[in-house]
């Protein structure tokens, strides 16, 4: 294994942050991983494309994603309309590109939210133990007792049919995953030398938790976030596919597939295929990216 040739690559993440030599080693290790595994490099490239589409999408598309043109309705892919047009004559390519931003925002927001809720609850549970731990564990178990997508449906139905609530529901169903990982990681560091040293120098529990333990488990949590991004996108798209959250005519991948579903049986495949493929590529990209990041952060679990 070539970790041995790197000064710091194989060391646990404790040693990595805040030191320039450690940081350089991580960077070198990352470069090694990417060159060793072209798939990871490919997923980074794909992520860049998705990111650019999310950032600049509305400014670079050839047509207004909401402008209908009934003369050109239901036309297949052509030079003028790369992905064809839908039943109202809207350009599918423009809609797919513009939708990237909304889907991306939903995924990022829900992952950030669950990181705040699940991550912090898990760290607190693992660090303090006792009742805090029991309560967090019980909440996680109760959420896990539901089939996750079904619970998300119920939450959106109860809180109200908005994009915001889709984000909240997606975050809640991912809560157990984050809480468990954070709990396990915080638990093993509870009696670690650096924590004891920090406590000995008079730091409060809160300060140790947020200033010492949290930064230490960050790499693992980032991997977790990347791995759940794909699921978050799928979950949100599934909810909008059944008519929750995003309302027409807003461009969003799930709702566009739902729009195109009726035309699949009459042969107009392009309306549903392209947004569905975009969804698939995005999820695929996040999954690969998560695997790649895990290889960088946690070389022992490399497959």
């Amino acid at each position: 294994m070539s970790e041995l040739t790197l000064p710091n690559g194989g060391a646990p993440p404790e040693a990595a942050p805040r030191r320039s030599s450690g940081f350089m080693a991580t960077l070198r290790h990352a470069r090694y991983i990417i060159s060793d595994n072209p798939v990871t490099g490919f997923s980074f490239a794909l992520f860049t494309i998705i990111f650019i589409a999310a950032l600049f999408g509305p400014y670079i598309v050839p047509y207004d994603p909401l402008a209908s043109d009934t003369v050109a309705a239901l036309k297949g892919p052509s030079a003028a309309h790369w992905f064809g047009t839908d039943q109202l004559g809207r350009d599918v390519f423009s809609r797919v590109v513009v939708a990237t931003r909304l889907d991306f925002i939903i995924a990022i927001a829900s992952v950030a939210l669950v990181f705040l809720m699940g991550g912090l609850a898990g760290i607190a549970g693992g660090f303090f133990g006792g009742w805090t731990d029991r309560i967090v564990g019980r909440i996680a178990d109760t959420i896990m007792a539901f089939p996750l997508f079904v619970l998300a449906m119920g939450i959106v139905a109860a809180l109200g049919n908005t994009v915001q609530n889709i984000i909240i529901a997606t975050a809640i169903v991912n809560f157990p995953l984050y809480a468990r990982v954070a709990r396990a990681e915080a638990n093993v560091r509870r009696e670690a030398g650096f924590v004891l040293a920090a406590r000995l120098s008079g730091n409060s529990d809160m300060r140790i938790l947020l200033g010492h333990i949290l930064p230490n488990i960050m790499p693992i949590m980032v991997v977790q976030m990347s791995l759940t991004m794909g699921y978050a996108i799928l979950n949100a798209a599934g909810l909008s596919f059944i008519g929750l959250g995003v309302r027409p005519p807003t461009a969003e991948w799930g709702i566009m597939v739902a729009d195109g579903a009726a035309f699949m049986v009459s042969g107009e495949w392009w309306i549903a295929l392209f947004p569905g493929a975009a969804l698939m590529v995005a999820v695929f990209c996040f999954n690969l990216l998560g695997d790649g990041l895990r290889d960088i952060v946690d070389p022992q679990r490399r497959t």
Binding site: T142, A145, F149, A157, G230, I242, G267, M280, V283
Partner: protein, 337 residues
């Protein structure tokens, strides 16, 4: 054995209590005033008050919860706002459609995923190993409703092999007499081959969609646990004793490798029951998922709540069965209990 079963049953109780509390809280989290909501937009203040008293919403939360649990114990899930029908009855009549679809989907994926995982593990680095890896990565990235639509396009529109994605049975056939509610089983009991094949035809695509969806985690787990078992000492001993590869892999390795796979089934069911909703929507399947979706769009909360509760209870029970199954397969688990 019986003791273990009882212990597992007791362990499911906190989950069930949690499920009931959460579904209760979900109704109370409904936006706005539930009484005004149930009274309709044109109701006067007095009418709203009357409904509040009638629904017991003027009582403290804990009393409301008691009433809710009492209703549940009597199998009363409330009435649908749009149809006026009791939700419990509707769910009960639609449940077999969903169950038939989900079970068939699971069977399809087990039949493909387990052999695939075993083959991949016995020939690491081979073509089939790579195929297994690609399939399990691609499988988790495919939105289940998208897979369904692609299958409909290819097998219905292009090839014409499958019937139109419109429910459980073609309109020309009448459903078999009700015994189990599973059309495949009922038609066989009635000895009606024509209906059996007609309903099988309708089932193939949605079951395949669910199968493709749940293929990935099962194949991945089978491969990983087979690899671990094949590297263990007792397999080496079995090989060294000159047993045939078949005996080593099937009798020795496979039975031990199945344990983690059975555990994974719990997670697979969580995905399957959720994916079921989307597949039912794509194929206009008259199960409880499409019932909930229709109610969701009409902002009719009682059916949605009944649906969430039914699904959650089924899921808890499935996990219970998996736990018990685990004890049956692995005697060591029984010793611990």
């Amino acid at each position: 054995m019986l003791m273990m079963f009882l212990k597992r049953m007791l362990m499911a109780v906190p989950s069930l209590i949690g499920v009931v509390i959460v579904t209760f809280l979900l109704t109370r989290a409904l936006p706005g005033d539930p009484a005004a909501y149930f009274a309709g937009p044109a109701a006067s203040q007095e009418a709203i008050e009357q409904i509040r008293v009638k629904l017991g919403l003027d009582k403290p939360l804990i009393v409301q919860f008691g009433n809710y649990v009492n209703d549940l114990a009597h199998g009363d899930l409330g009435n649908s706002l749009t149809t006026g029908q009791p939700v419990g009855k509707e769910i009960k009549s639609r449940l077999p459609a969903s169950a038939e679809l989900t079970l068939l989907g699971l069977i399809v994926s087990m039949l493909v995923a387990v052999p695939l995982g075993i083959l991949a593990a016995t020939r690491p680095g081979s073509l089939i190993d790579h195929a297994c890896r690609v399939i399990s990565t691609a499988g988790v990235s495919l939105p289940v409703f998208f897979t369904g639509l692609i299958l409909v396009y290819v097998f219905y529109y292009l090839l014409g092999w499958a019937p139109a994605p419109l429910g459980r049975l073609d309109v020309f056939f009448s459903p078999p007499p009700h015994v189990t509610g599973f059309y495949l089983v009922d038609s066989l009991i009635a000895g009606d081959g024509e209906v059996f094949f007609a309903s099988l035809k309708q089932l193939v695509l949605p079951a395949l969609t669910l199968g493709i969806f749940s293929l990935a985690p099962i194949a991945r787990m089978t491969r990983a646990s087979m690899l671990a078992v094949l590297g263990s000492d007792f397999v080496r001993t079995a090989r060294a004793s000159g047993l045939t590869p078949y005996t080593v892999i099937i009798t020795y390795a496979f039975r031990n490798a199945m344990l983690p796979v059975v555990t994974t089934l719990g997670m697979v069911f969580s995905f399957l029951l959720g994916a079921n909703v989307l597949v039912e929507k794509v194929f206009a399947w008259p199960g409880i998922g499409s019932y909930a979706v229709e109610a969701l769009i009409a902002s009719d909360f009682a059916p949605v709540q009944g649906f969430v509760l039914t699904m959650a209870i089924m899921y808890v029970l499935l996990n219970l069965i998996i736990d018990v199954l685990y004890g049956v397969i692995d005697p060591r688990v029984r010793m611990d209990a």
